[in-house]
């Protein structure tokens, strides 16, 4: 017993581990990029590793194929340290560096700053005299009021006041004040001599369940300076929000660990930006965050268990502004941090921010926003009204729950074309890298191709009788070979099984049902929508026609379907830069009516009707049926 040395390669990271600890926990403690979807329950089979030297105490898992067992594969979460060991993380278990939707716009513009969350105000004051002997603080606020339309006198933090007399006099009354907005009030949280002037920045942060995106924004020009994105480290505790809440309930230290993990993720990305752009931490003076309600509560360290229990009540809808230091973000410690308000437990600040970014709350035309993240939410409305719902689409669009599924990282097959005559597949991977698996957009393409070629029926079942080499039965499951192992230099083919197809059909049915029930609640037809805006993890790469072909989106003219990428971070950036936008987010959150679809009896029926390609009611998809008829 005692401690042992464990080395993970190819990353070459090593650590001392306690006997009995699982390899997964050692790997995650070290920050080794090892996949795990179930949070170490032994249920997902993604954390495959191969012990190369030394010994570990591993349990057999039915999730490993006989071939894998022969090669010495084990599941890291089911293996315990018994001595020194060297462990290989094979390529299929390595969590890739993500190609996340980083730009966040696609026509979602944010203009020049108008009342940013915090700013630097350049001040030049007259020195006090016997005639003008007003105190230093008043002199400072008087100068600020001359430049900015501040209603009341700005407040000041004690550390700034403590240094105030000295800084003012040493700087010859030429200083820069850092002024921020907190809960609608202005306060001075920093003061520097004008001679030490440096540019100041703010952050827009999308706190996603799977991925986190941090944007660095120049607060003077509003320009996007840089972006960093990465996987949410909380993934070690499970892929979806529910398993993470459960993890947070298990032990009290785990709740803290979940907050720590998300902060570590964000701070790591901030560090990346600071290094790349050669900044000092104090130059980043504010941050605007948007995330779903669960992520928001985790970020702020708010106990989250009520979110998963009926009647699903969030801790708050409006979250107070806090100082960076208080929440734990490594920017200017006194800089204001704002979190986008939420609508309900399952429609969060990310949707509110997305609505803001699309501007659908400002125009007459009624539009729908569909955010396909790890969960899937729909919002519909215009300048007068807004409704929303969460539709429990599940993480299949992010490649989770799919045998050869993966996040949209390097090597993920993101686009697929199939030519039935030659039986050839053409596909493109993220970053043009060697194919490792398939992501959401690739899945949508594949299923649409299979349907068009008649290789699956409308229920998504493989027709093994068709003249193609690509359909076959693997482990009693019929499926379709997307790429042959030998084509890509690996032993296993990239294979899409019937169960994978069913998973995606369930997800697309939930999205379509969510949209159609929400439309029904407001007595509208899909054709009356001016536009459908699709946001989320695969919004960039999704083929609109294929999405309609499989019945995920309604059969509208394709020009009505627009991809807006990461609308959440775009909304966070708008809120960072504009006081007006911050007010709008509050309005959006306040006026958005949430429908809890789990309580609506017709949702389930609409969902079952959607479990068909494209839909049980084929008359809803005339263009798709027409194309099918042409084929026959």
């Amino acid at each position: 017993m005692g401690t042992h040395i464990i080395v993970f390669y190819p990353e070459g990271k090593c650590a001392e581990a306690q006997a009995g600890e699982t390899l997964l926990s050692v790997a995650h403690g070290l920050g080794v990029a090892l996949d795990s979807a179930c949070g170490g329950q032994g249920a997902c089979g993604k954390c495959k590793v191969i012990p190369r030297l030394g010994k570990v105490d591993a349990e057999k898992s039915p999730l490993l194929s006989p071939d894998e067992e022969k090669e010495g594969y084990i599941l890291a979460c089911q293996a315990r340290v018994t001595g020194d060991a060297v462990v290989e993380v094979p390529v299929e278990s390595q969590r890739g560096r993500l190609q996340i939707l980083v730009r966040g716009e696609h026509g979602l513009e944010t203009g020049a700053p108008e009342g940013p969350l915090a700013e630097r105000i350049e001040l030049e004051m007259e020195a006090p005299t016997l005639k003008d002997n007003v105190d230093d603080l008043n002199r400072l606020t008087r100068a600020i009021k001359e430049q900015r339309a501040v209603e009341a006198s700005p407040g000041i933090t004690l550390p700034v006041l403590q240094a105030l007399p000295k800084v003012l006099r040493e700087a010859g009354w030429k200083v820069d004040a850092l002024v921020g907005e907190m809960e609608g009030k202005t306060h001075i949280f920093g003061l520097q001599p004008a001679s030490e002037r440096k540019p100041v920045y703010g952050l827009a942060i999308d706190v996603g369940t799977t991925t986190v995106v941090v944007q660095l924004v120049d607060l003077e020009t509003g320009a996007l300076v840089g972006t960093a994105a990465g996987l949410n480290d909380q993934i070690a505790f499970g892929n979806d929000v529910i398993s993470r809440i459960i993890a947070s309930e298990e032990q009290s230290e785990r709740a803290a660990a979940l907050q720590e993990k998300i902060l570590e993720t964000i701070n790591r990305l901030i560090e990346e930006l600071i290094t790349k752009h050669e900044l000092e931490r104090e130059q980043i003076i504010c941050a605007s965050c948007a995330g779903n309600t669960v992520m928001t509560q985790f970020l702020l360290g708010i106990e989250a268990s009520a979110l998963r229990r009926e009647p699903y009540v969030p801790a708050a809808r409006h979250f107070p502004g806090v100082e960076a230091d208080e929440v734990g973000l490594t920017i200017h410690p006194r800089g204001p941090v704002r979190v986008s308000p939420a609508v309900s437990s399952y429609v969060g600040g990310d949707i509110v921010a997305g609505t803001l970014a699309t501007g659908m709350d400002e125009v007459e035309a009624v539009q729908a926003l569909i955010d396909l993240g790890t969960n899937g939410e729909v919002a519909i409305g215009n300048k007068d009204w807004l409704v929303c719902a969460s539709c429990s689409a599940g993480p299949a669009f992010e490649g989770s729950g799919i045998k050869h599924g993966m996040y949209a990282g390097p090597g993920a097959i993101e686009r697929v074309e199939y030519d039935a005559l030659s039986d050839e597949i053409r596909c493109r991977t993220v970053g043009e890298a060697k194919p490792r698996g398939i992501c959401g957009s690739g899945l949508v393409d594949t299923i649409a191709c299979l349907l068009r070629a008649g290789l699956i029926d409308r229920a998504g079942r493989i027709d093994l009788g068709r003249p193609t080499r690509r359909t076959r039965v693997v482990d009693e499951e019929p499926g379709f070979v997307l790429l042959w192992g030998e084509e890509i230099g690996r032993e296993e083919d990239i294979f899409l099984g019937e169960n994978d197809i069913q998973n995606l059909i369930r997800s697309k049915a939930a999205v379509y049902a969510g949209l159609s029930i929400l439309l029904k609640r407001v007595d509208m037809k899909a054709s009356e929508l001016e536009q459908i805006l699709v946001a989320g993890a695969f919004g960039n790469y999704l083929d609109a026609e294929n999405a309609v072909t499989i019945g995920m989106l309604p059969d509208l003219p394709l020009e009505k379907i627009r991809f807006v990428g990461n609308s959440s971070v775009a909304g966070a950036r708008m809120a960072l830069l504009s006081a007006e936008a911050r007010k709008r987010t509050e309005h959006i959150a306040a006026k958005m009516t949430n429908f809890d679809l789990s309580a609506e009896s017709d949702f389930m029926e609409a969902y079952v009707a959607g479990l068909f390609l494209p839909h049980t009611d084929t008359s809803l998809f005339p263009s798709v049926m027409e194309k099918c008829a042409e084929r026959i």
Partner: protein
């Protein structure tokens, strides 16, 4: 004020399906049965046409039934181990308009008989009676895929009704149906969407929608009957509203469901407050069947001859204009 009966005008009609083929039609049946064709909800003669009356098929098993109560087995005394004699009795003595042959013995948990036995049973029953046949598998998907093609082939040209195609297993039986000129039962678990999905799937294999009869899992009186009833009613409304993929006639399996109920089979000695079991079971089946008539059922599959008689009388009454 004069009361005016409100009259709905429906856009469409239920499909008309004829079962059985006479010698002139290439078969050997003495009679055929035609169901469907309604342009209104059940028995609303003032509103539309109801050209064909609902029919009763009596069910025959290809093996001696296990644990049937005395009340149920008594009318078939001496024939329960011979499907041909049993069928003959149903037709000649009890006036069955159709026979539903259930190939239960093929079930792996039962006698696990093979396709040859299934084909033989079909041939025997066809030879014994002149009414049209429903031929239904054992309910185990893999086994049915083994026996049904042979059973279908044995009845080729007889225009039987084969059961059943389900969402997860429809291809083999649909192919058999197409090959041997039969009609097809499409089944769904009390779910109108899945029903429609199966119908689309089999029609996309080339089976004409006019060759389909739909079956939603039946619930007996007191055991979920109302779910099945409301699905039937919705299906019928969809048909009248013009939904071509839900316009097929409906079938209900009443006998086995009604007789599953403890209220139908418990002996009077064990539950004296419930009254005589001889009447109770029969009434349970007749009541279940009558409810489904009102839901829109076109073909009732029944067991007890007394219940059959009662329901036939009811149909006579309901069909009077």
């Amino acid at each position: 004020m004069v009361f005016e009966v409100p009259v709905e005008k429906w856009a469409s009609a239920v499909n008309t399906v004829t079962l059985g083929a006479t010698a002139a039609e290439g078969g050997t049946r003495a009679s055929t049965v035609t169901v469907g064709g309604s342009t209104t909800l059940p028995f609303l003669h003032f509103e539309g046409e109801i050209p064909n009356r609902p029919v009763i098929a009596m069910e025959v098993l290809d093996m001696e039934p296990q644990s049937w109560p005395e009340t149920l087995s008594a009318p078939f005394d001496g024939v329960l181990n011979d499907p041909a004699a049993w069928a003959k009795k149903c037709v000649e003595e009890y006036g069955a308009e159709m026979i539903c042959l259930r190939l239960l013995s093929a079930h792996p948990d039962s006698l696990n008989t093979g396709p040859e036995e299934a084909a033989a049973a079909v041939k025997k029953v066809l030879g014994a009676v002149g009414v049209p046949l429903i031929i239904w598998g054992c309910g185990q998907a893999d086994k049915d895929n083994e026996i049904m093609p042979r059973a279908s082939e044995a009845a080729a040209g007889e225009n039987c009704l084969l059961g059943s195609a389900e969402q997860d297993n429809y291809k083999t039986i649909t192919a058999a149906c197409l090959a041997d000129g039969h009609k097809l039962i499409t089944a769904a678990p009390i779910d109108i969407n899945i029903q429609k999905q199966v119908n689309i799937l089999v029609t996309e294999m080339g089976l004409d929608a006019g060759r389909i009869v739909m079956f939603q899992a039946t619930g007996g009186l007191g055991y979920g009957m109302e779910y099945a009833y409301s699905i039937m009613e919705r299906t019928r409304l969809a048909a009248l509203g013009g939904d071509k993929m839900l316009s097929m006639p409906l079938l209900a399996v009443v006998g086995p469901e009604a007789w599953k109920a403890k209220e139908a089979k418990t002996l009077e000695a064990d539950a004296p407050q419930w009254g005589a079991e001889k009447e109770r079971g029969v009434l349970w089946e007749a009541m279940t069947a009558t409810c489904f008539l009102h839901g829109g059922t076109d073909i009732l599959v029944m067991w007890h001859p007394k219940a059959v008689e009662m329901v036939r009388t009811t149909i006579d009454g309901l069909m009077k204009k």
